[in-house]
């Protein structure tokens, strides 16, 4: 099971990003846990300045904007 953290202040793009990961995971049949992180200290701790950022299994894989769908698929397949 992969764990995802979507880092952001709770703006629309963050919600969209979290939903994109969940939807792709369902479509591919991959088990995931997606958590939205809004705490600034935690977000900055990951070195993210442009939100939303995405952390997969503890590693930053994306920052700034909604990730492209095929990028999300690559994370889930990898």
């Amino acid at each position: 099971m992969k764990t995802f953290k979507v880092l952001g202040s709770g703006c629309k793009n963050c919600v969209t990003t979290a939903k994109l990961i969940e939807d792709k995971a369902t479509a591919l049949g991959v088990a995931v846990a997606v958590e939205k992180v809004t705490d600034m200290a935690t977000i900055m701790g990951f070195g993210i300045m442009s939100t939303p950022g995405v952390v997969m299994d503890g590693k930053v894989v994306h920052a700034g904007g909604i990730p492209q769908p095929d990028k999300v698929e690559a994370w889930l397949r990898g």
């Binding site: 600034m40 977000i43 900055m44 701790g45 300045m49 930053v60 700034g64 904007g65 492209q68």
Partner: protein, 321 residues
């Protein structure tokens, strides 16, 4: 090149909709069609081209550029970078913390945040094509000047104490480097996505702005503003700023309103003061900034900018008459 948009609006208004030239409705419809097509076309093309060549600066890079610069150079550099770095207002809190964490002075950080909503490449091109390059040059100078002066005063007054305490305690991890696809296909897709995202983010402001502009253009008589808000009425500038305070629009959305106001012979300084007030001070932005700034500093920020807008308005009205 921009004549095509006028021709398109001519054709749509007079041939397709068969409106009679010179009527109020025809004027408003013509304005709406011309500005909608022109602004969306320019918005999409400019964002696409900038993103394709990756000439859009990431805030992370800006932080590296400003870090360690002297204060004097810092204000000017930060205000200029604020003008060319696009970021969503939802990123302003992490950006603010990230700058301070790198040891960038509060005033320099604020110079960046003041200029950012006022200026960007898209707005400059659209302003230039719609209301002329002279006024655009003035607008750029005013936008950067406000950032520099605002930042300088904030440092002079040592306003660090009005930043929420938790901000100073945050320690940032190593800046995340995310790999990017440099192939032609990768660049095109990235640029396309950026352009689509930008249009999704601002289309409503633009449509509302053009709608208001079209209404003013078609239905408000030219004598109205001359009578109530002409250059000889000293209250017109502060009034324009006050009206603009609670209103919020993206800079691209306010341009058609400014265009219509200018066409009704409202003085340039009054129009610029109004534009600044609408884009640079807004309730949503203040709610976001409240997360990192104490109320005293927000109050200072709003007061300083409002007074500055009024002064800029008076100055430009005096110089350009």
């Amino acid at each position: 090149m921009f004549a095509y948009f006028t021709q398109l609006a001519d054709w749509a208004t007079y041939d397709l909709l068969v409106l009679e030239a010179g009527t109020k409705l025809a004027d408003a419809v013509h304005f709406f069609i011309e500005d909608t097509t022109k602004i969306f076309f320019l918005l999409f093309v400019i964002v696409f081209v900038m993103a394709f060549f990756r000439s859009m600066l990431a805030p992370e890079k800006v932080r590296t550029y400003i870090e360690g610069k002297s204060r004097g150079a810092g204000y000017v550099l930060a205000a200029m970078l604020g003008a060319v770095t696009p970021f969503c207002s939802c990123s302003s809190v992490p950006l603010f913390i990230g700058f301070l964490e790198a040891g960038i002075p509060l005033g320099v950080t604020m110079a960046f945040l003041i200029t950012s909503p006022i200026l960007n490449q898209v707005a400059v091109v659209i302003l230039g094509s719609i209301i002329g390059w002279q006024m655009t040059a003035i607008f750029i100078a005013v936008g950067i000047g406000l950032g520099v002066i605002g930042g300088f005063i904030i440092d002079r007054l040592h306003m660090e104490r009005y930043v929420e305490d938790y901000v100073w305690k945050i320690r940032m991890g190593e800046i995340a480097q995310v790999e990017i696809d440099e192939s032609l296909r990768g660049r095109s897709r990235y640029a396309w996505d950026q352009a689509v995202e930008m249009v999704q983010r601002v289309w409503l402001y633009i449509i509302v702005g053009i709608g208001v502009g079209a209404g003013l253009h078609g239905y408000v008589p030219a004598t109205f503003f001359a009578e109530y808000a002409g250059a000889d009425n000293p209250l017109a500038v502060p009034f324009a700023v006050l009206v603009g305070l609670p209103l919020y629009s993206n800079i691209t959305g306010i341009i058609p309103v400014a265009e219509a106001l200018l066409s009704k012979s409202l003085p340039v300084g009054t129009v610029i003061a109004f534009m600044l007030s609408v884009v640079a001070i807004s309730p949503p932005e203040f709610i976001i900034l409240r997360k990192v700034l104490k109320p005293q500093m927000l109050l200072f920020f709003a007061t300083f900018l409002s007074i500055a807008f009024v002064l800029v308005g008076y100055l430009l009205n005096a110089l350009l008459l």
